[in-house]
């Protein structure tokens, strides 16, 4: 019975479980049992969303696009949940990362968040998950804005729960910039509604081609570009990301780094290719003239800034800004293979960056800080975590056998197909910068002798199993998708082909 309601269940399950998680017995109290119960509930919900995502992916690959009318109203009037290959692809990533975060979250959250807030932390997490899944599932423009706001608001709350007082200012800054970005998207949607009188994305796509002359459409396109790149943290508008990721609770950085910006990239795909269709976006509005220079700047500046960071979480946050630059560079090449490469890198980067921040969570759990000096001698003390950082770091650089290599390979092909030598050199140059900041950590971990005075006597031992297993699942995924790309490339390929006309 439930199979034909999959699309809506994907959102309703986490939506209902969020208040339920707050209503759980002993919620909001200090005792451990209540917090463990809340964690267990949240993990179960994440697992169910992942299973639903798998079923949806199977359904989509068998029967093509799923269209679900909310409340029984036909599309142009009612809200239509529309899942094509692109949405199924992102759903899988978001729910998989949610599961892995939740699996590893128990001990780390116990240590970092005030005990009475833990059950509310999990319910806010579920709300954030609802928002992210909702954005990907819905086919209605305004509904995307609503779900985007749900996920952003809950992620502001989650970031503000960090135990460092800088988390508050980081969350505040993210709130201001995030709201401005979302409001820009809202203005864009409003202008489109004014022109066409409909909010359904497919309906909009049919009506826009004959409106190309109107200036309001140009204004709407401009608002979308700024709003989405603000949410995406594309270089000039990325100022909120480093602080937000560095001072948030470690498990939240793991979740947000692998999903939030990815969903914003999905919005970019949905609006600029699903709504505006790629000819309009590139021939009419020349989006590539904006995307390519900004992405090149993002890759070079963010990577070089990352090299000089002392706080490793900030370093990986800047590296995330650079990696987003890779994705937008892929898209900016304005060809199908470019967007496929961008999609592929989105998938691979979610695995690698999620893993790296999970390793950071292990280190914070054991040593309490992520300053570079604190890494001295960790190679011996926490061998499994450091080995994971090394292997995932190689993935970030793009060494063969890792997922990073595959996305670098396809990005290079897409760039060199058009003899765009600048983009090719930047792609390759970016990975050189990645070598520099990854090796800074490796050298500290394996070559420096630990300053015995720093670790207050207690011997730093390896991270607990519950955090290591998810970490090594991600490392295994990094290698698996480095070798067998039938899923990651196949799905991205069909997704882009269905999206592009």
């Amino acid at each position: 019975m439930l199979t034909q309601h999959l699309a809506v269940l994907q959102v309703v399950v986490p939506l209902i479980s969020a208040p339920l998680c707050a209503l759980l017995p002993l919620a909001g109290s200090e005792n451990k049992l209540g917090n463990k119960l809340a964690w267990l509930f949240a993990t179960l919900v994440s697992l169910t969303t992942f299973i639903i995502a798998l079923l949806i992916a199977k359904e989509v690959s068998d029967h093509g696009v799923i269209s679900y009318q909310l409340g029984g109203w036909a599309p142009p009037w009612g809200i239509e949940y529309r899942i094509d290959h692109l949405s199924a692809y992102i759903l899988l990533i978001v729910s998989a990362i949610a599961c892995i975060t939740m699996l590893a979250a128990q001990k780390s959250v116990e240590k970092e968040i005030a005990h009475e807030k833990i059950s509310l932390f999990y319910s806010a997490f579920l709300l954030c998950l609802t928002g992210l899944l909702g954005v990907v599932v819905t086919g209605d423009a305004f509904n995307i804005f609503v779900f985007l706001e749900i996920s952003s608001l809950s992620s502001y709350v989650l970031i503000a729960l960090g135990n460092d007082r800088k988390a508050l200012t980081a969350s505040y800054q993210y709130l201001i910039m995030g709201t401005i970005g979302a409001t820009f998207i809202l203005i864009g949607i409003g202008l489109l509604y004014m022109l066409t009188g409909t909010l359904n994305i497919v309906d909009l796509q049919q009506r826009i081609p004959e409106l190309l002359s109107s200036r309001t459409l140009h204004a709407a396109f401009a608002f979308f570009t700024v709003g989405i790149s603000l949410k995406l943290a594309l270089l000039p508008l990325h100022l909120w990301l480093p602080n937000a990721y560095a001072y948030a609770p470690s498990m939240i950085t793991v979740f947000l780094s692998a999903t939030a910006t990815k969903v914003s990239l999905y919005i970019l795909f949905r609006f600029f290719f699903g709504l505006f269709s790629n000819e309009i976006t590139f021939e009419e509005f020349h989006l590539d003239k904006i995307l390519i220079p900004l992405s090149i700047l993002a890759i070079l500046i963010a990577s070089s800034v990352a090299v000089f960071q002392n706080n490793i979480k900030r370093m990986f946050a800047y590296s995330s800004v650079a990696q987003i630059g890779y994705m937008t560079l892929g898209i900016g090449l304005a060809t199908k293979s470019g967007s496929i490469a961008g999609m592929l890198h989105l998938f691979n980067h979610a695995i690698i960056k999620g893993g790296l921040f999970l390793a950071m969570a292990c280190i914070v759990f054991r040593t309490g800080s992520v300053q570079l000096s604190n890494f001295a001698g960790l190679g011996k003390r926490m061998p499994w975590t450091m080995a994971a950082i090394l292997l995932l770091g190689l993935g970030l650089i793009g060494v063969p056998f890792t997922a990073g290599f595959i996305s670098k390979w396809y990005l290079l092909i897409a760039a060199l197909e058009q003899n765009n030598w600048l983009a090719a050199t930047v792609i390759v140059g970016g990975s050189l910068l990645a070598v520099m900041y990854i090796w800074k950590i490796i050298e500290h971990a394996y070559f420096k002798i630990p300053i015995s005075s720093a670790s207050e006597g207690q011997v730093i031992s390896e991270a607990p199993f519950t955090m290591l297993i998810p970490l090594w699942i991600l490392v295994a995924a990094n290698f698996y998708f480095g070798v067998n790309t039938s899923f990651s490339y196949g799905f991205a390929n069909t997704a882009i082909n269905t999206l592009f006309q």
């Binding site: 309703v12 209902i16 208040p19 339920l20 707050a22 209503l23 679900y68 409340g71």
Partner: protein
Amino acid sequence: MNKKRSLILREACNLIVPAVLLYALYVQFHGDYGPGGGFQAGVIFAAAIILYALVYGRKKTQKIFPASLVRYLISIGLLLYAGVGVASLFMGGNYLDYNVLAHNPQHGQHLGIFLIELGVGITVAAVMIMIFYMLDEYAD
């Protein structure tokens, strides 16, 4: 905070609060065919409670509306909203399809709108009161 407000304030408050609560309920239950609905009703309801709390102090209000109850109300309101949706799922229609809720679509729509607006009203009122309680705690 414990010194009592002047007599005039307390008397005026006794007059206004019941009227505002009644008006809130009116707006709540006439939302489907007239102006009104969950959001507005919730806010008016909360305004009445907050006025009472301003005049009689947070402690007395918390005897009527304890903080834990308000917290539960937030979740219950949202669950009611989503519950109606899931109910229509189980009754065979799509999510939030009110036609299947009752024997004929007309009543189903009416019932659906009514319950949804009630859920929204509860949540909005509870959230507003909770915000007031939180900011009030910061004050002292």
